[in-house]
């Protein structure tokens, strides 16, 4: 059974549909990329899943449970973590405490503080930030802040990880590390990853399946190679943008 199922999910802002009847399913440790032009509804779709926005129609089903419109903290405890495009963290806490918080509140059975700090250390080592754990978040750059969020997300031991353009603005070396880390998260923890991305190079290298959104609807779906050859995709999206990224 699919871990996440969307049934005809729709969200409109003032009559303008941002997501217009999307149905899709994923699970089993898949890495699914959501691509599409700006304003295609990719980020909105993720927000609808985690409960930051409430859909106007349709259902969001997680592991057989209807989670449509549930508040984010409940969705988080049911095993869905999200890393946002603009990283958000807790400025009065150290890097380590930022991640420990994810373990303290993200899990269904919460650990005690000491255990949470241990989990934080593991997660930080995993994303390569262990040498920064006693710093405040103000000392980190954008790239590191995203990894910090990623560490907080995995510290909460999710089953489903949603990533919103976490690779935007990275240089080639950082991109390589990011790709390796996302793959490692999936391989080691068997976490299903749904991932919104603009950087085509990363999509081609990492995604197992690609869903192309345009005007809030699914335009095409398939393996990265298939999708890139789809004439509708080429016209709607790739024709206008630089493939090389």
């Amino acid at each position: 059974m699919a871990l996440l199922e969307l049934h005809e999910v729709g969200k409109a802002y003032g009559g303008l549909p941002a997501v217009d009847g999307v149905s899709l399913g994923t699970g089993g440790g898949e890495i699914l990329a959501l691509v599409g032009p700006n304003g295609a509804g990719k980020s909105t779709l993720l927000k609808l899943v985690v409960g930051l926005e409430r859909p106007n129609r349709g259902r969001v089903i997680l592991d057989g449970h209807d989670i449509t419109g549930r508040p984010p903290h409940l969705v988080r405890r049911m095993g869905v973590a999200m890393v946002q495009q603009t990283p958000r963290s807790f400025p009065t806490m150290t890097v380590r405490e930022n991640v420990a918080l994810g373990a303290l509140f993200g899990r269904d059975t919460p650990p005690d503080t000491d255990e949470a700090l241990e989990i934080a250390d593991e997660a930080l080592a995993f994303v390569g930030l262990d040498d920064r754990r006693h710093d405040t978040v103000g000392a980190l750059n954008l790239h590191q802040l995203r990894f910090l969020e990623l560490a907080r997300a995995i510290a909460g031991s999710p089953r489903l990880l949603l990533l919103d353009e976490v690779m935007a603005g990275l240089n080639d070396a950082e991109l390589e590390t990011s790709i390796d880390i996302v793959r490692a998260i999936r391989d080691r923890h068997d976490i299903t990853v749904v991932w919104v991305e603009h950087v085509m190079k990363a999509v081609m290298g990492l995604a197992e399946r690609v869903v192309v959104l345009d005007f809030g609807r699914i335009l095409a779906e398939g393996s990265p190679d298939q999708v890139m050859r789809d004439p509708a995709v080429v016209e709607a999206y790739l024709g206008k943008e630089d493939l090389g990224a």
Partner: protein, 347 residues
């Protein structure tokens, strides 16, 4: 990038010591130090009935400041009804004990629970409707004004403008200035211990997270709404308990005992001075402000001017409050950051 710029960029409520979870000995150490200093006050002013009265009122304000700090400093809810919630405790205790005939301690506990329920309800409404700081402030201010009007209007019960005598507690140690002082001090320490333990626990982590970034906290699994209501319940219970205890000690309550101008305004200044979001800052602020108020009493009308100047100084130079500012100075000294001259004083 300069570390100081980063530190200055963190929010007003970011207490310096919130960065590390306090160890239990350190926590009780700071509370015990506060207790020891304040316990010595009667030795100093004990022979003056008037000054002891001022000291007791100062301790009541310390409790108010701790309760308000828990609600506003820890979870960012601007409760402009500190006096009114204390008044629920004060009038509640007096009326339950004197009119209804409930035993004094039970009356006090019931009144404090009443204040907790009212505060919790206000918070719940604000949280449910997702009201921002300003709107929550307006709602609680409306409650405070309604409470004052209710007290003035229902004069057959509350005595209206002139208030009522509280006969409960008369003839007991509560009317002995020195013992009453220690009862109030005990309440201050109790409030500090409760707040301190909350801060160390899981709840404290949730408070820090939601204060730093509400959306990030929610996404990390923190039930922001629930922790806000928790803080309002516990903080309001402190306000009600302190207001009720003060009524029993003072032997009289009136609208000005719990008025917005007489309580809320002062509590906000005390908290801002001591350090919003710190543990013992509210007590420090209340102590300094009470002493200052006594010293300036001879200035008469000029006192208001002096407060004006004080507030300006406060917000210009020690915006984060006294405790965080001092902590920052202490921390900076041993490190001797580049650019500062080495200390002339040896040792």
């Amino acid at each position: 990038m300069s570390g100081r710029a980063v530190a200055a960029g963190t929010s007003l409520v970011a207490g310096a010591e919130t960065r590390v979870s306090r160890s239990l000995p350190r926590l009780f150490g700071s509370i015990a130090a506060v207790g020891a200093v304040l316990a010595a006050v009667p030795l100093w002013v004990g022979d003056s009935r008037v000054r002891m009265g001022v000291a007791i009122l100062g301790l009541a304000f310390a409790c108010y400041a701790i309760g308000f700090n828990l609600i506003f400093g820890s979870t960012g809810q601007l409760f402009l009804c500190v006096g009114a919630l204390a008044g629920v405790g004060g009038y509640g205790t007096a009326l339950l004990a004197d009119r209804v005939g409930v035993p004094v301690v039970a009356a006090l506990v019931l009144a404090a629970l009443g204040a907790a329920l009212v505060g919790g309800l206000l918070s719940w409404v604000a949280v449910r409707r997702s009201l921002g700081v300003i709107f929550a402030g307006i709602i609680t201010l409306i409650f405070a004004l309604s409470f004052e009007n209710l007290v003035l209007g229902a004069s057959t019960i509350t005595g209206g403008d002139s208030g009522i005598q509280v006969s409960a507690g008369s003839g007991t140690f509560l009317r002995e200035r020195t013992t009453a002082y220690y009862v109030m001090l005990g309440l201050v320490l109790l409030c500090l211990v409760v707040h301190g333990l909350l801060r160390r626990s899981r709840v404290g982590w949730a408070f820090r997270a939601l204060r730093d970034d509400e959306v990030a906290a929610e996404l990390a699994g923190v039930d922001v709404a629930r922790y806000r209501v928790y803080a309002a319940l516990v903080g309001s219970a402190m306000l009600g308990l302190a207001g009720g205890t003060y009524a029993l000690i003072a032997g009289r309550v009136s609208p000005t005992t719990y008025g917005f101008a007489q309580v809320d305004v002062v509590v906000i200044v005390m908290l801002a001075f001591g350090g919003i979001g710190t543990l013992v800052g509210p007590v420090l602020g209340a102590t300094v402000f009470t002493i200052l108020d006594e010293l300036l009493i001879e200035l008469g009308q000029l006192r208001l001017l002096a407060y004006g100047v004080l507030i300006i100084v406060l917000f210009l130079w020690i915006r984060r409050g006294l405790i965080p500012t001092l902590a920052e100075l202490v921390r900076r000294k041993p490190g001797s950051p580049p650019g500062t001259a080495p200390d002339g004083e040896p040792g």
